[in-house]
Symmetry: C2
């Protein structure tokens, strides 16, 4: 399957369970925010899996805990956006990401008074927890956040297209922030064994195929007017900018945010059609607990708003002609 044959991918891979439920949720969320004239962002986050067996015991995974996506979601909410957060099951979620494992349990205190039991947050943890909890409740009360989960690359493909179908109506007001680490390779369904591969037969060789690049139909067909941002993660600095520019030339979207695995929390490179510049988090900022995602989102929002204004100007000019 060549990388342009995205239609064949959908034709040969069934939609995931709950696909129709998710599609309804997406439609309801988008319709509501369309009426409210909200700015809206689709964030994808976390890695996709490629199962090696139909009854999946083993799979190839892409490294991504979902830090970038889940942190960015909070900052997009701060900027007034409605957020569709499409993320890998069990990867980090906004708000709860601040407390991994048993950290929240450690903040709690049990009080037994006679027959009555109460649980409170320890006073010295309130300062940390209160602002996060406040923002979490606010996102809930204003219904500005929709959570959608995927696991495999096939789930991701179906949900991404469904989200785009709902976002198309927003035209330039839609922002796509594609931070998920999507598998490049997969095992075709007809070459996949039904049962767990048995180690007694010796070590297997896994033949992988290229996953079609969905950015092509996404930009040219599904949401042709939206502001589309993709991410590029490399481990080799020498390839980073060249590969980002190659992607931009090929898919004609607006922005690639490039980063190196080892330095991704302190530095990203913004690559647009005509510019390349660094966004950095200084050591002082990091020590103060600031996150680079705050700056990334602020910069992306500025570019998106400028893009919206350009569209309005173009419309005005067309009306005047």
């Amino acid at each position: 399957m060549s990388s342009s044959h995205w239609e064949e991918f959908y034709a040969t891979h069934l939609p995931p369970n709950c696909f129709e439920d998710n599609r309804s949720l997406l439609k309801e969320f988008c319709d509501r925010h369309f009426k409210l004239e909200s700015n809206i962002v689709l964030i994808t986050s976390g890695g996709t899996t490629v199962p090696l067996e139909h009854n999946t015991v083993r799979f190839v995974d892409n490294f991504s805990a979902g830090n970038r996506g889940s942190a960015s979601a909070e900052y997009f909410l701060d900027q007034g956006y409605a957020v569709i957060f499409m993320y890998r099951t069990k990867s980090l979620e906004p708000f709860s990401r601040h407390f991994t494992g048993q950290q929240l349990l450690d903040m709690l205190e049990l009080h037994e008074e006679g027959m009555s039991t109460t649980i409170t947050v320890k006073p010295d943890s309130v300062d940390v927890l209160a602002p996060i909890l406040d923002k979490y409740k606010n996102a809930q009360e204003t219904n500005r956040m929709l959570y959608i989960t995927f696991t495999s690359v096939v789930d991701y493909m179906w949900l991404l297209r469904a989200a785009c179908e709902c976002l198309a109506a927003f035209e330039r007001n839609a922002l796509l922030y594609l931070a998920a680490a999507v598998s490049d390779f997969y095992v075709p369904q007809d070459e996949m064994p039904t049962h767990k591969i048995q180690s007694g037969h010796g070590a297997p060789t896994i033949s992988l195929q290229l996953v079609p690049k969905m950015l092509a139909p996404l930009v040219s067909l599904w949401v042709p007017l939206a502001y589309v941002v993709s991410f590029k993660l490399e481990t080799d600095e020498n390839l980073l900018i060249a590969k980002s520019r190659e992607s931009l030339n090929k898919y004609k979207h607006k922005l690639v945010i490039a980063n190196i695995l080892q330095t991704r929390k302190n530095r990203v490179v913004f690559v647009t059609q005509n510019k390349t510049y660094d966004v950095l988090l200084s050591k002082e900022q990091a020590h103060k607990g600031q996150e680079i995602e705050e700056q990334i989102v602020s910069d992306v929002v500025d570019r998106h708003q400028e893009f919206i204004r350009e569209g309005e100007m173009q419309q005005l000019q067309q009306q005047q002609q």
Copy 2:
């Protein structure tokens, strides 16, 4: 590398970062509980990864959220055991496993009174949270739980052996409950590319090698007197018992707990040298919120205690002769 060449595996794979720190923690924990004459269990939980690149972006993973291991840890604590919980980073942990993602945040209420802010657990969530929090605090206060994390199969191998070195002194009082889903295959370090595999060069073929079965040296050399339980997960019912018995004959340990991927929450099969029997969770029990791990642990503890008594009897007989 044949499956018996476990020594070569250690010789060619460096120990993970923080290995010495973890070894000290294991030693301190085991020494303390040895003096207390505690029963002790090593639980391994979650899946191991096999990196496909040195700067790891992609890896092969084994399916395991860590449900079995993390639930079992709580029941072993209930039974008075000291617990070494050796688990995959970010897989489920005892206690916090009951609250995934944002569930704990949903239980919290923010109160602002003038300048003072407090956070409490909503009254209708206290009933659910209090007993879990109580057990969590108890495990902390009695220092009966040690957490050790791994990610790759190489980390796992090094930590498993280090734990065994500390557990050997417990002789029959040590229980090994090896619930982790360990990779059967890996990519040898010298065949691994340094940087992220580039999709532009076409889809790669990954050649995997067999991971040596550590159960062999573990049972025969590292903890020869301990009660060792392994787990067998299959998707094909027809292979389940045969493969469990094959494992038991090969490694000569005490018990295989066998389960089928699709039914693993309601049924397991205990396979010992001379018996095979089901442990089941009925629908009524499941509806009441009971977990099959409570029964599994109770049965395993009975067997372990019987095994300890047998050892004491043998010692007594030897002294009388």
